[in-house]
């Protein structure tokens, strides 16, 4: 899409909306260097280098001006065609001059009838109906209403509500409302505590902010805690459920996708790509499918059960602790970017390992020993979910600690040491 002519042809073929990509970029100064991936864009369009970014000459007015030209050309062509409004243009394939294209030798043998087909209808051919997302019926409206004392006055709110799998992205609008008023910091811890009973729909607890606890008694779907932003999510089985955590699925695929902060305690097994792109949240799970912790860059993951294959692929940050009594984990881990280490006791770690490579549970937290972080997370897990596996592990902690494997990304170790170094030189200088 570059010119008004392109727009008109698109409309004649039935388009209502148009996306422009390259042309507006060029208007802003892109010279199509094809160096976007090298951070050396010489006109400052696709680079983070401050020296090169200074060279960026684009202005919003340039883009506005470009689209004025496009619109003007569209009007000119519409005038030539005798069309008054854009809506009348949409789907009028009869106005296209197709001869030159169809008679071209390369087009021989190709059937274009379906592309130029005009459905016989009295209805308008342009987009006349808005898509109804059913947002008015979203569960979040009730949640926001019932959480008002907490959002407006900082009071503690706690209630129980049923949830069904047609309730998608539960908590996203609530989080938006809190973020609008209180910013990224959210509310005081556990200001809003909601217990959900039932089977939640996709993206349960998406973008949940700090100060909100979602306690789901039942099961989650895919994308539980997507983009988790500081809140706490607990998923546990009902009390009358007789199964054993590490043996049943409790949440679906891509749980905690891109989470940045917060905690999640999931008393059961997750599907594939658990905690993919997690950059700062802490979580406990009792087993994962394939590709766990893929592309993870920060945060803490504790797995109290088996994992699928290709664990830690592309993992560059954060730490995973995997409970591995049968010593099988190594075969399932992608060792390209990570090292496997034992979890030392606090005393051992203080003695043997320099503090510069110690991990912190949440991003920006104080550095702690692995044992302290791991034990606290498992204890929390037991407290919130009543997990049998967590109880068993804690009942004989010295032995169970030895059965954990620490997954440590090589890049993360280097970054931790560098951060420590720069923080210390800065404090010394001060």
């Amino acid at each position: 899409m570059k010119t008004g002519r392109d727009v008109v042809i698109g409309a004649l073929l039935g388009a209502d909306e148009f996306g422009f990509a390259t042309a507006p970029l060029v208007v802003e100064g892109c010279i199509m260097m094809r160096k976007c991936h090298l951070n050396t864009c010489p006109v400052g369009v696709a680079t983070q280098d401050p020296v090169l970014r200074k060279k960026f000459q684009g202005k919003p007015e340039h883009v506005v001006n470009y689209f004025f030209f496009v619109a003007e050309e569209v009007r000119e062509i519409m005038a030539q065609l005798g069309i008054r409004t854009f809506d009348e243009l949409v789907g009028r394939t009869d106005l296209l001059d197709t001869r030159a294209g169809l008679e071209h030798w390369k087009a021989h043998g190709l059937d274009f009838t379906n592309i130029f087909y005009q459905p016989p209808t009295d209805e308008p051919r342009y987009q006349a109906l808005e898509q109804d997302h059913g947002l008015e019926a979203a569960l979040d409206h009730q949640l926001i209403e019932r959480s008002k004392p907490a959002i407006e006055k900082g009071e503690k709110v706690s209630f129980i509500t049923p949830v069904r799998n047609r309730n998608r992205s539960v908590g996203a609008m609530l989080s938006g409302e809190i973020a609008r008023r209180h910013g990224e910091a959210g509310l005081a811890d556990d200001s809003i505590h909601i217990q959900f009973n039932g089977s939640a729909g996709q993206s349960f607890g998406a973008f949940l902010v700090h100060g909100v606890t979602f306690d789901l008694v039942g099961e989650g779907n895919d994308y539980v805690g997507k983009g988790l932003a500081g809140g706490r999510i607990i998923v546990r089985s009902p009390n009358d459920f007789r199964g054993f955590g590490p043996e049943h699925i409790i949440v679906g695929n891509t749980v905690l996708y891109g989470a940045t902060m917060g905690e999640a305690y999931l008393s059961g097994v997750a599907g594939e790509r658990f905690a993919v792109r997690n950059s700062g949240a802490a979580t406990v799970i009792e087993g994962t499918g394939d590709h766990g912790c893929e592309y993870m860059t920060g945060g803490t993951v504790v797995v109290l059960g088996g994992t699928g294959r290709n664990f830690a692929a592309g993992m560059s940050g954060g730490v995973a602790y995997v409970f591995d009594p049968e010593r099988k984990f190594k075969d399932n881990c992608n060792l390209t970017m990570v090292d496997l280490e034992p979890v030392l006791t606090t005393a051992e770690q203080k003695e043997k390992v320099g503090m510069q490579t110690w991990h912190s549970m949440l991003r920006g937290d104080e550095r702690e020993t692995d044992e302290a972080i791991l034990k606290r997370l498992v204890e929390n897990h037991f407290r919130y979910t009543g997990s049998f596996r967590a109880r068993d592990i804690l009942s004989n902690w010295p032995a169970s600690r030895g059965m954990f494997v620490k997954v440590m990304p090589k890049e993360y170790r280097r970054a931790l040491a560098e951060l420590w170094e720069s923080a210390n030189t800065a404090s010394k200088a001060a």
């Binding site: 050396t40 006109v43 060279k55």
Partner: protein
């Protein structure tokens, strides 16, 4: 592709020229070509653009990013081959071309352009010094004859290409020396004339016959009809 960050780290360097008080004492060229390592650094400034505007800015479409890269990597012999693939006489253009490539260079938008002309100059002069510029006679003759009227740079380039393709080429020149504008239009201090002579020797070895002092056509009736004139090529 040059050095990825070369244009950020290295500055454009002009070729050194003699001080005016020295150069007014003689008629020779007064611009010195870049030393090899400097030329290599200048080549490193090339960004290997996705759309190399230099390539189309150049009237003969020199494959500039390629030989910039080769010079950066010190592969001079290959750089010379790439340069010769589009340009018969880089020693002429490397000296007297107005370098529209540098005007077209992407770096010229908000920086100093790559010193393309100075790199070209360095490649071809090194090529002559090292003896890499040798006659390339055709392996087979076509038996066809071609007359080229005028021995300016265009005539010479056409003659060389035709001779290398196996034709029997004769170049007619009305003046008594070969070179046209190169010889009579461009002063020595810009380009010395032995450069033309060494090309003529190369082309003779490739099978080109030169006929200076031969006027084809007349002032009223130039070129075409006059070509029936008797020549040694007949």
């Amino acid at each position: 592709m040059g050095k990825v960050t070369g244009f950020l780290e290295l500055k454009r360097l002009k070729e050194a020229s003699q001080a005016p008080e020295i150069r007014i004492k003689h008629w020779h060229e007064f611009v010195d070509r870049l030393p090899d390592e400097e030329a290599s650094k200048q080549g490193a400034r090339c960004m290997d653009c996705g759309i190399p505007f230099c390539n189309t800015g150049c009237p003969v479409n020199n494959i500039i990013p390629d030989w910039n890269d080769l010079v950066y990597r010190n592969e001079w012999r290959q750089a010379l081959d790439v340069l010769h693939s589009t340009n018969n006489f880089p020693e002429f253009t490397g000296r007297i071309c107005p370098a529209p490539c540098e005007a077209a260079c992407t770096l010229n938008i908000n920086n100093d352009p790559v010193g393309i002309k100075s790199i070209e100059h360095a490649i071809i002069d090194k090529g002559w010094d090292e003896g890499w510029v040798v006659p390339q006679p055709p392996s087979q003759r076509t038996g066809k004859k071609v007359a080229v009227v005028g021995s300016g740079p265009a005539g010479l380039a056409a003659a060389q290409q035709l001779a290398r393709a196996g034709h029997e080429v004769t170049v007619f020149e009305k003046q008594d020396r070969i070179g046209g504008l190169l010889r009579y239009g461009i002063p020595d201090f810009k380009m010395e004339k032995h450069l033309i002579d060494q090309r003529v020797v190369q082309m003779q070895a490739e099978g080109v016959t030169f006929c200076p002092s031969t006027f084809v056509g007349s002032a009223d009736d130039p070129a075409a009809k006059g070509l029936t004139v008797k020549s040694p090529a007949d």
